[in-house]
């Protein structure tokens, strides 16, 4: 019976984190962007600084009509938001907040999270194709091209840390982490973080949803709750990216003073704000700049980092 209870508590906790954290990031984006751009943002709903704006948005999305275009491929079109959203829920289950504070402690947790996030992008591709809209198709194409280029830096950056720690388990990597890794693994951190932001198609890598060129890319035809699911999956992606960056590169639950899950939450929040900050700070990259950055900067950097990690790791071991 205690085992069943343990499982139920873990499942409920992961579900709660999945429902709360992306919304918190969404609210933070409203507020942080408004302040950085010297404007107010939503201020009226709910009274204090418009805290209820998110609730109002949710109610609005629920009320909207759920339209499936007549020319669209209905089944794929309706399935796509789920395919985009659910993998992040699955990925969150494997990310530890502290040793033992995790949905499922896996031997290959790093691979698990990477594989789950890779599936999420399929949802965007399905949306882009099935909408029967040329803007959506262009957006889907751009998503795929971007993903193919940036998957490599992400995986190489993550594998550098895995080599340094000698394990694929996220708890193990977090435990093996030492503060000087922030210097030694800095190139891998850059590759992982930049590649991660690009895979989420967040600005400045938002060519796939470039609103001034192709309306809203793959999501152009979506309305109501299905559209909201895509937005939510973007925020869930930010949470997963920030949490992974924290566990792999920033020491997770370690910190000055007592270790604990609250360090993990604090660092994840800070990295999420950084993702939002990047959106405000840089203009959109062009397609050729995008590919140049991936293939001429990030991939060579990641390969050099891998060699460095291998040499240092072998040096320490011998």
């Amino acid at each position: 019976m205690p085992e069943v209870l343990d499982t139920v508590v873990r499942v409920v906790a992961v579900l709660a984190a999945f429902l709360v954290l992306p919304l918190a990031v969404g609210q933070a984006e409203h507020k942080v962007m408004a302040h950085m751009q010297g404007r107010l943002g939503p201020m009226y709903a709910g009274g204090f600084h418009g805290w209820a704006q998110l609730v109002a948005d949710g109610v609005k999305f629920v009320q909207k009509e759920d339209v499936t275009p007549a020319a669209a491929d209905g089944r794929v079109f309706r399935l796509a938001p789920g395919v985009a959203l659910v993998p992040y829920l699955v990925a969150m289950a494997a990310i530890p907040l502290a040793p033992g504070v995790v949905g499922a402690d896996l031997d290959a947790g790093l691979l698990f999270v990477l594989a789950a996030s890779a599936v999420a992008v399929l949802g965007t591709l399905m949306a882009g194709w099935s909408s029967a809209n040329k803007y959506a198709l262009l957006g889907g194409l751009r998503t795929a091209a971007q993903l193919l280029s940036y998957e490599l830096p992400v995986v190489l950056g993550a594998s550098s840390v895995a080599m340094a720690a000698g394990t694929l388990s996220l708890t193990g990597i977090g435990e093996a982490w030492r503060p000087w890794w922030m210097v030694w693994q800095l190139p891998a951190l850059v590759c992982f973080f930049v590649g991660g932001v690009a895979e989420l198609a967040r600005p400045p890598f938002d060519m796939p949803v470039a609103d001034s060129e192709i309306v809203f890319g793959p999501y152009t035809e979506y309305t109501g709750l299905r559209f909201a699911f895509f937005l939510l999956s973007e925020y869930a992606g930010i949470v997963v990216l920030a949490a992974m960056t924290t566990v792999l590169f920033l020491g997770g639950w370690h910190g000055p003073g007592p270790d604990g899950a609250w360090w993990m939450l604090l660092k994840t929040a800070l990295v999420s704000v950084l993702v939002i900050w990047v959106r405000v700070a840089w203009p959109r990259l062009r397609e050729d700049q995008l590919q140049t950055l991936a293939w001429k900067v990030l991939v060579p950097l990641a390969l050099v980092q891998l060699v460095l990690t291998a040499v240092v790791a072998v040096g320490i071991a011998s």
Binding site: A71, A118, S130, L141, T167, L168
Partner: protein, 170 residues
């Protein structure tokens, strides 16, 4: 039990991928087939292999397939020209049946009656890496050379077809 269920899902979505007359649906059924195969590995205790299967096949190869489809032509609805003539179907059926028979014969005679316990510890990442880069390192490296050769050959073929490369071509 779970293994049998996943096997049925994998096999039937594989058949659907071949039979489907909508080219993108075929690619999506392929995703289901590969995912169910990963599930089979997982049930057999090979966690790392299952995750790599998802990461590489679903995350990279199917994305590449979808990208190529969208770049060339991916009409919504059925494409009549995807139907092959009956001779080709017959030949494909014969080849498929032959392969199935061969594999079934080898496996049935090879492992008949033997029961192997599912041992998750043996297929964890470290023992797996040790055997991959220990006893299996030569086939592994030969395979990577083979892939490199295929890559170079593909480049050469695509260059020859277009003739002299234009100065401002990508």
């Amino acid at each position: 039990m779970l293994f049998a269920l996943l096997g049925v899902v994998a096999a039937s979505s594989g058949v659907l991928a071949v039979v489907s007359r909508q080219v993108v649906h075929a690619a999506l059924w392929l995703v289901t087939a590969l995912g169910a195969l990963a599930g089979c590995y997982l049930v057999l205790g090979a966690e790392v292999v299952a995750l790599v299967q998802v990461l590489v096949y679903v995350g990279a190869i199917v994305v590449l397939v979808l990208f190529a489809l969208m770049l060339t032509r991916a009409p919504i609805g059925r494409s009549a020209d995807l139907d092959s003539p009956w001779q080709q179907r017959l030949a494909a059926g014969v080849v498929a049946a032959g392969t199935t028979g061969l594999l079934a014969a080898v496996l049935l005679t090879g492992v008949r009656g033997r029961v192997v316990d599912v041992d998750a510890a043996r297929s964890a990442s470290q023992p797996l890496a040790r055997s991959l880069f220990g006893s299996w390192v030569l086939p592994f490296e030969v395979l990577s050379l083979l892939l490199l050769a295929a890559l170079v050959a593909a480049l050469v073929l695509s260059r020859e077809r277009t003739g002299a490369p234009e100065p401002d071509a990508d």
